[in-house]
């Protein structure tokens, strides 16, 4: 009974994430890959990887932008990487923000970059919270599953 409620909760969360544009079809495809491909824990693994990696990248970018002379190429490389990983995981909103971020990098605008960084960080934290909630729900569902069987 509790498991079903948790499932409903998880489904609602995922659909809200999708409707809010936090995630896109790529994330849905990852889920399908996990469900149909018999690779349990795949989504959580990827999401965890993404969260850790994105957090690391954002911190790197922040430190780079604090430098007296900003190496915008390096910043751009990090943003590019963040864009790649967010695209892979289907973090649509973060990906879009990264695309705007790259424009500031090419303009070599520190202020623009700092502003974009704030947006990216905000979006990422938002997404990360959702992801963490999602992972917790999945863990709880998993904990119920063996008992049901």
């Amino acid at each position: 009974m509790a498991a079903a409620a948790l499932r409903d909760q998880l489904t609602a969360l995922l659909s809200s994430m999708f409707t809010q544009g936090l995630v896109d079809e790529q994330f849905q495809q990852l889920q399908m890959l996990q469900d149909e491909g018999g690779t349990p824990g795949f989504v959580s693994e990827v999401v965890t990887l993404f969260c850790d990696d994105a957090d690391r990248i954002i911190n790197e970018i922040a430190s780079l932008l604090e430098q007296p002379v900003v190496n915008f190429d390096k910043v751009d490389a990090y943003v590019h990487q963040l864009k790649g990983s967010s695209a892979s995981v289907g973090a649509q909103k973060v990906k879009f923000t990264c695309m705007q971020f790259r424009q500031f990098c090419q303009d070599k605008s520190r202020e623009g970059c700092l502003m974009a960084l704030a947006v990216v960080r905000n979006d990422f934290y938002d997404l990360r919270n959702k992801f963490q909630t999602m992972l917790q729900l999945e863990q709880q569902i998993q904990a119920y599953d063996p008992k049901q069987q």
Partner: protein
């Protein structure tokens, strides 16, 4: 899953490609790498992952046979993806797929120019990955496929178009192996091609980085073409071409790349041309008039090929006529059931037979070593059947085209022999026009063309066949007739036969032609009896060229044309033409045969250049026991010196014969020549 089990799975998967295809995924982004790995596994590929390009390179270098495919991210901190792509392309022949979230055209283009076989955008979709195995197939079989470039065309490429380097470059197959040579030739071709491609591929590394671009100017291309022709397209390998071209700052890679494009160009050229003729043929259908139109299309096609060939293969005798063979088949609208190509000695024989006629054309005969070093002969025979009321008409068209490259002479032989209606029930009119013409283009590149046009009309049905027959460009033995012996003989055979033969009618047309030039010898015999399954095409030793067209229809027509140009001394050259023609008609037939022959003989030493043009019109009417034979020489363009050291002239004779006798034989000896000349 334990490692052993995984190995077992992999081994099993290897048997059902693309399942188990071994891919190496390289991406510094762990998220991307994880997703990519999962997707690839989902596609049932065997995946190895690494997040560093350097490690990937190390793995590839140590176990280059362990991977079928590399998928690499573009942006990686330790090594740029393009660099990895370059190195992989240089060191190992593996398809590399680039992966990036950046889809800018410039970046994609960079990946492609660096040799990436594909460029995927993140996020990669599984649908895209399900197809990437094709790159492995392309890579593995690409070379072989390229080696399989239409054998036909490969064979038809001029074995040696440069007249100055004929010796030793012409691939040879014994002339007696008329049945087998095609296969042998095919093997030969593919081997050559494999070899060539192997060399090409070895040096033509697609990822070869940033080499200075070579602008293939007209001059450079001309040198290239000359070198290729000198080597022969089959044997042209980049290294040799480069040596021959002797151009600074040109690398083997440049030449190899250009050679590939050049071959593709040749292939495309013939494909387009044959397609055009096929269209014409399709339109032709069974309507004889349209067939005639089709033949005109063929003519146009020939003109097209020759012109285009001239534009691309400047100043070398291109053997373009063999390409006409498929065209001629297409013109007939009858699919060829058999296509044989042979290379023998200096002969390249291409033989195409339509289904109904299963006869062979062979090129037996010994050939003197010092002449006819390069002869490419292509025979195309098609048969067209049409039923008209109760009459059945079988049209056999034989296009015999050959290219003779001998001692700086190139000649092409092409012959069309029509098969007249085999069975004519009621009154039948058959009109046969054969137009062989041999032209000599220039002194250095002797190009002999002999168009033979045959038109046969069966009552309303009218079929016209015309083709250029470059024939017998033979250099008389270099010693005696020092230099070049040009014989250009445009010959017209126009025959109109109307047969009111109720019963069976068999028409045998035998044209025997013999040409002798002193010690120098060039001979060919062509027998074309369609129903006997015996067709010989002899290019025998001596100066004998015999051509026999055996045609079977309402008439028996044996047409012997013996042209002998004998020279015993460089200063003494005699031409002997004997035309023996026998017209056999069991019933009332009316036949017109017009033959025109232009012969041109040139010798450097003795400056002998006889040019003979003979028109023969033979008309026999069997109903009326009256035969008129008329031999006339309309004009003699140049003087014919009786000293026989040199005659430079044009002998044009029109022979009209109407005889009761079925056999008409006429010999034109030297004396006849002179007398004829004297008459004019």
């Amino acid at each position: 899953m334990r490692p052993e089990e995984r190995k077992g799975v992999v081994a099993r998967r290897r048997d059902q490609f693309p399942v188990g295809m071994r891919g190496l995924a390289v991406d510094d982004d762990p998220v991307c790498l994880k997703v990519l790995e999962t997707l690839l596994l989902r596609c049932q590929y065997h995946v190895t992952t690494t997040n560093q390009a350097a490690i990937a390179l190390k793995m590839l270098r140590e176990n280059r046979d362990m991977f079928d495919l590399v998928i690499s991210d573009v942006h990686m901190p330790d090594m740029d993806g393009f660099k990895l792509l370059e190195l992989v392309g240089l060191e190992m022949d593996l398809p590399v797929i680039m992966l990036s979230v950046n889809g800018e055209t410039k970046t994609v283009l960079k990946g492609i120019t660096h040799g990436a076989c594909d460029y995927l955008l993140k996020p990669v979709r599984i649908e895209e990955l399900r197809n990437i195995w094709q790159h492995v197939i392309r890579r593995k079989f690409g070379n072989r496929d390229r080696g399989n470039i239409d054998i036909y065309e490969e064979c038809n490429k001029p074995p040696n178009a440069d007249s100055d380097h004929v010796h030793g470059h012409v691939s040879c197959v014994s002339p007696d192996q008329s049945g087998r040579p095609s296969k042998k030739r095919k093997e030969y071709c593919s081997e050559e091609e494999d070899e060539g491609e192997g060399n090409t591929q070895e040096i033509d590394d697609p990822s070869a980085p940033k080499k200075p671009r070579v602008v293939w100017s007209v001059e450079l291309h001309r040198k290239f073409v000359a070198a290729v022709n000198q080597l022969g397209i089959d044997k042209a390998v980049p290294k040799r071409i480069l040596e021959l071209m002797n151009v600074e700052k040109l690398t083997r890679e440049n030449v190899a790349s250009h050679l590939q494009k050049y071959r593709l160009y040749l292939k495309r050229l013939s494909a387009v041309a044959s397609q055009q003729v096929s269209i014409v043929a399709a339109l032709g259908g069974r309507d004889p008039f349209l067939h005639m139109g089709a033949f005109e299309g063929l003519q146009g096609y020939q003109a097209f090929t020759s012109s285009s060939a001239l534009s691309s293969f400047t100043s070398h005798g291109l053997l373009n006529s063999p390409r006409n063979n498929p065209a001629s088949l297409g013109t007939q609208g009858v699919p060829a059931s058999k296509s044989i190509q042979t290379v023998n000695g200096s002969h390249t024989l291409s033989h195409s037979i339509s289904d109904a006629n299963k006869y062979n054309i062979s090129l037996p005969g010994s050939q003197h070593g010092n002449l006819g070093q390069g002869l490419a002969t292509s025979l195309g025979q098609t048969q067209m059947q049409q039923k008209w009321i109760h009459e059945e008409t079988d049209d056999l068209s034989t296009i015999l085209s050959g290219n003779v490259l001998a001692n700086g002479m190139s000649s092409t032989l092409q012959n069309v022999s029509p098969l007249l209606p085999q069975e004519l029930v009621e009154c039948t009119q058959a009109k046969i026009g054969t137009q062989p013409s041999v032209r000599t283009t220039s002194v250095n590149s002797e190009h002999l063309e002999r168009p033979v046009g045959v038109s046969s009309s069966l009552l309303d049905s009218h079929v016209s066949q015309q083709s250029t027959v470059p024939l017998s460009g033979f250099s008389a033995s270099g010693l005696l007739i020092h230099g070049s012996f040009n014989n250009s003989c445009p010959t017209k055979l126009g025959g109109t036969s109307s047969a009111c033969a109720p019963a069976r009618s068999s028409n045998d047309l035998m044209v025997a032609r013999e040409t002798k030039a002193g010690a120098s010898s060039f001979g060919g015999t062509m027998l074309l009896p369609p129903d006997m399954e015996q067709k010989y095409l002899n290019f025998g030793g001596g100066n004998d060229f015999k051509q026999k067209l055996d045609e079977r229809g309402a008439d028996n027509l044996i047409f012997d044309w013996n042209s002998v140009a004998s020279s015993q001394l460089p200063s003494n050259i005699g031409a002997h033409h004997s035309v023996s023609q026998r017209w056999n008609n069991s019933n009332s037939n009316r036949s017109n045969i017009g033959a025109r022959m232009i012969g041109q003989t040139s010798s450097n030493a003795s400056t002998v250049m006889p040019q003979m043009k003979t028109d023969l019109f033979i008309s026999g009417d069997m109903l009326m026991p009256k035969n008129v034979s008329d031999l006339s020489i309309p004009k003699l363009q140049s003087e014919l010196s009786s000293s026989s050291c040199s005659f430079d002239g044009l002998l044009n004779s029109i022979v009209k014969v109407e005889k009761d006798d079925v056999t008409f034989s006429d010999d034109l000896g030297c004396g006849d020549f002179y007398s004829l000349g004297a008459c004019i």
